[in-house]
Symmetry: C2
Subunit: 217 residues, 2 copies
C-alpha cells in the first residue's frame, strides 16, 4: 500500500474564478494544510486542461502534495501527474493501472461495497465514497448512506474518503466511521479565506482522529 | 514517413444508430474499400468510448485497416489503437507523440499553413484540412478555401486529406489540388448502402488519381 495521506483531500473547481484567482486559492489551500489535491475540470478543452494542470502541478510540488487528475488519464500522462481519479463512467481502474504503472496513485469513486471491492481488485490506491450530502458541484447527486460508507471502509484495506457537501460544521455525521479522510470542494474553494478554511478542516479532522474516528495509516 | 493510405478516410458518427446498426455500417464501409478509419465519439463517457472502440477495432483488424481514435489519447492507449487524430483544441501533437511512441499514427486538423507546419514539426503523420463545405456533423463549421488547402499540401511533406461535407458529387472542387485523399462522414455513414457509397467514392478517387490529382505516395 502506498504511503498516502488522504486526510484533507481538496478537489478544485475553477468555474467562476479568473485563472489568477483560481491559482491563488489553490495555493492558499495548500498553505492551509491540504494533503492531497485533485484537479477537476469539466468544461475545458484538453489543451486548456493540460495548460492549467501544468500550472497547478508546479504549485503543488512546492508543498510536496501529490496532484491527482480527475478522469483524464491522457492529461495525467501528459503532465506526469502523481495520479488520476476515476469514476464509474471513466476508464476502468485496471486499464488506468496498466497505462500509468505501479507507482502512480489511482483513486476511484465508489457508491457500493461491490464497486469498492472491484476497484480494490483492479488496483486502486484509495477510494472516495459518497455523496454524504447533496452538493452544488455536481448536477445530479446520488446520496450514499453513511452506513454504506462504513461498510465500504470495512470491506477493503484501502484508505476511504467521504465526499459530498462536507464542511467543518456538518462532518460530525461521520463520527465513528473509519474513514481515512474527507474530500471537499466548496468548503475550501468558495471560502472567504481558503487557507483558513483548510486549516480549520484539518484541525477538526485531527480532533476526530484523536478520538479514533479517522483511521490513520 | 509511414506507409499510410489515407485515400478514403472514413470518420464514424454513431448518433442516431443502434450499436448493432452502427457496427454493421462500419463493416460495410470497410468492405466498400475504406483505407483508414476514425472513431469519433462526442457524447459518450470514457467507459462507453473504450467499449465501442474495442468493438470497432476488432472489425477494422479483419480488413487490415488502421483505427484512429479522435481526440482521446487515453482511449487510444487503452485499446492499443493504431493512432489518434487531434484538433487544435486537443492534445498538442508533440505530447501525443511522446505518449504514443514513433510507431503510432498521429493526424492533426489544420486550417492554415502555419498550423500545418507546426503539426509537421511536432511529428504528425498526416493532416486533415478543411472544411471544404459546410458539414452537418459539426455545430460550427469554419470553411477553409481550397486555395489554402493547396498551400497546405505544398507546404508540408505529409499526406493531406480534404474534409468537410464532401461526397462523390461535389468533390470535383478539389481538382488539381494535390491532396492525398478525402475524409468523409455523412457520405458513407448516412448512405442507404454504406458499402456502395464507399466503393463509389473510391472509384471516383481512383479516377481523380489517374488524372494526377490525388498525390500517391
Amino acid at each position: 500500500m502506498k504511503n498516502l495521506d488522504t486526510s484533507l483531500y481538496f478537489i478544485t473547481e475553477s468555474s467562476g474564478f479568473t485563472e489568477e484567482e483560481f491559482l491563488y486559492r489553490v495555493e492558499e489551500a495548500l498553505k492551509g494544510g491540504v494533503t492531497l489535491l485533485q484537479l477537476r475540470e469539466k468544461n475545458k478543452t484538453i489543451r486548456e486542461y493540460i495548460d492549467i494542470a501544468k500550472k497547478v502541478h508546479a504549485i503543488a510540488r512546492k508543498y510536496n502534495v501529490p496532484l491527482i487528475i480527475d478522469d483524464h488519464v491522457d492529461v495525467a500522462l501528459a503532465i506526469d501527474a502523481e495520479g488520476v481519479h476515476v469514476g464509474q463512467d471513466d476508464m476502468p481502474v485496471s486499464i488506468a493501472r496498466n497505462l500509468l504503472g505501479e507507482d502512480k496513485i489511482i483513486g476511484a469513486t465508489t457508491k457500493t461495497v461491490l464497486q469498492a471491492l472491484e476497484a480494490y481488485e483492479q488496483g486502486a490506491d484509495y477510494l472516495g465514497a459518497g455523496a454524504v450530502y447533496p452538493t452544488t458541484t455536481k448536477v445530479k447527486t446520488v446520496l450514499t448512506p453513511t452506513e454504506t460508507i462504513r461498510d465500504i471502509c470495512n470491506a477493503v484495506p484501502l484508505p476511504v474518503n467521504a465526499i459530498g457537501g462536507l464542511n467543518k460544521d456538518n462532518m460530525d455525521i461521520l463520527n465513528g466511521i473509519p474513514i481515512a479522510g474527507i474530500c471537499v470542494v466548496s468548503a475550501i474553494m468558495k471560502a472567504d479565506d481558503p487557507k483558513q478554511a483548510a486549516a480549520e478542516l484539518k484541525a477538526k479532522e485531527i480532533c476526530l482522529a484523536a478520538h479514533g474516528v479517522i483511521r490513520r495509516r
